[in-house]
Symmetry: C2
Amino acid sequence: MIRFYNAKILTMEEPLTVREGEIWTDGDKISYLGKSPAELPAFEREIDVNGNLLMPSFKNAHTHSAMTFLRSFAEDVPLQTWLFEKVFPYEERLTAEDVYAFDRLAILEYLASGTTAFFDMYFYPESTVQAAIESGMRAVLCGSISGTAKDVERLEEQFRKYRNVHQRIGYRLGFHAEYTSDESLHQEIAKLAQAEKEPVFTHISETRSEHDACIERHGTTPAKYLESIGIWEYGGGGFHCVWFDKEDRAVFSRNNLWAVSCPCSNAKLASGIAPLKEYLKENINLALGTDGPASNNALDPFREMYLGAVLQKLRTMDAAAIPAAAMLKAATVGSAQAMGLKDCDILAVGKQADLIEIDLHAANMQPLHHIPESLVLNGDRSNVKLTMCAGKILYEDGIYQNGINPEAILADTGKRIERLTG
Amino acid sequence: MIRFYNAKILTMEEPLTVREGEIWTDGDKISYLGKSPAELPAFEREIDVNGNLLMPSFKNAHTHSAMTFLRSFAEDVPLQTWLFEKVFPYEERLTAEDVYAFDRLAILEYLASGTTAFFDMYFYPESTVQAAIESGMRAVLCGSISGTAKDVERLEEQFRKYRNVHQRIGYRLGFHAEYTSDESLHQEIAKLAQAEKEPVFTHISETRSEHDACIERHGTTPAKYLESIGIWEYGGGGFHCVWFDKEDRAVFSRNNLWAVSCPCSNAKLASGIAPLKEYLKENINLALGTDGPASNNALDPFREMYLGAVLQKLRTMDAAAIPAAAMLKAATVGSAQAMGLKDCDILAVGKQADLIEIDLHAANMQPLHHIPESLVLNGDRSNVKLTMCAGKILYEDGIYQNGINPEAILADTGKRIERLTG
């Protein structure tokens, strides 16, 4: 059992309030949350949080983690040049061992940023599973097939292989995007999802051209087309959702789908600004993701929350466009629920001990007028003092724990990057 | 003498290149920059930089530092409500001692962010001078008068008092804004600037309504109006410059003025996106500032650079809108030159030793494909390992140096904030 005391606690239950107290963890769960009791049991470790904040860890609801190897490889070039000349040819060279190595590099960044789970779409899922399990993090794999009906066999195989492979690994049905697959694939996925009563995720309406091309192909938008196929009978959602119109949002609302927004990637690639104000107003489930580190370039939940908030102010020319705290909810509770991590959303007894300590004594967090808003508008990852996943401390005071060796990871990835891009 | 060796060095001379070598400082200056020589003199301290980056420190070219006390005090409210109900009434209660205390809080954040100089517009300049001198930082005060011709006396008095008060303190003529002063004030400032051969700075075209109201009042835009008055015969510039049209930019170009952009403040207050792409294309001098911490909410050069870059991509819907490295130049060389800190712009022998060490081993800075671009697109202040101003190390590995005591500063500001806003 680990005891955190002298804490401010933001459980992320609504309405958001910061209370004083302590949290105990027992194994992978939270076993106590409240005021300091008169009598204490024996603890393995007692941590004086010194008035700092304990809150749920961040979950990254859309990423391609292993793309760390292409971060900053090509900047300031148009999107098509970047993708076809600077990404695809290099990804073809990747081995399973490379993906494992580059996932481990991403995990260093996740843990230092207070992120304990990531929803990953990439090649060689076995590598991602291995990297996540070893590190102590959680990963939820998302199917990323493209092509035609026959490709769904591979998806089903992965689904059966990974759905129960480990308590910290999940699997969600998914495909790359409407524009990289045909109707036979969509129909086959719909059948699988309906048979298994599973949600389905996909990239959707990220760029205007992709959104418009679907209208040309199918006579309607991606959201409306995919709903008509029946892929979302058991829920799911979409990554990006930038170019959604009112009817697309209605599709997401009536099917209880998750809109996973990636504000930084959409900004870097000039894809656009998703209408988050409307999502919130219409009570659409909102989660946040970073997208891959080559198109972001950070794996940083603070930057996503910040950009998510301020871009709505600019888009609507209204400083009060959305409440900043809505972004905090999306990056923690929302992302956890989108990924199916129902026990990792809020801090409460019986929930998984996936939590972080935020240094409220850092100059940028002072004064403490409104802590949830400050996390979004002035917080950054330099404020993450401790990251715990499933009751294990994985990062503390700048030092990785649980056998994670950053020097070895950097040496390994350095050699691989030299081979792949040198 | 201090020796930094095993370094990557980005001097910020153009064209930008990262070289390997070492830097020595002697007193407040850089005394050597180059390869490791065969023979070494005796040093007071030798620092193995371990392959990390040495580069010029950041300079914050527009701020109201002491507004730290109102950071996160009122969020998600419309601009006018915020300003008239949540800022002005509280600022009226400030004493000189309060401003000193809140400047010291800001300085904690500046140093942890790699910032060694700030261009400050606020009440009680004596307090800001004291806080900057004590900490080891540089401050350049900017006149902030409003009103009529008679108010220029106070400006002139401050100018004479502070211009040569200390080697790390500067003073620039300035006034709050066209919309808070009348033509008699502008004419009087023009006379003073011409007599003293001094540049003049002011808030300009920050919001559309302010820009348009000037057109109604004076029949022309603020930039064209102020040029016609003759305030810029010896240069200067403007803070924000969001709503400039082509002719306003021509005013700045032909008078060699500095456009000081504040992307994060302009986003938070929904003021708009300044046309930085056009500024760069038209070779207008560009600097970056944070604005005050109540309207940002951070004093973070990394966030300004990042937002400056990605907002241009969104504004123009072109992922290649501006080179990311242009933001790095604006935040270092540009801001230093705008503030008149001609010896603090680049790293070179004889220049002031105002430099920072960036941890390139941090996961978010890996791999090192393009370091200048990475600083803008994936760097953040958690990467600042050491901050040196005028040859003195003021911050290193998370610890403040030079007698700066963060606990004492937080205790002091905490009490004052309670009194002012409690």
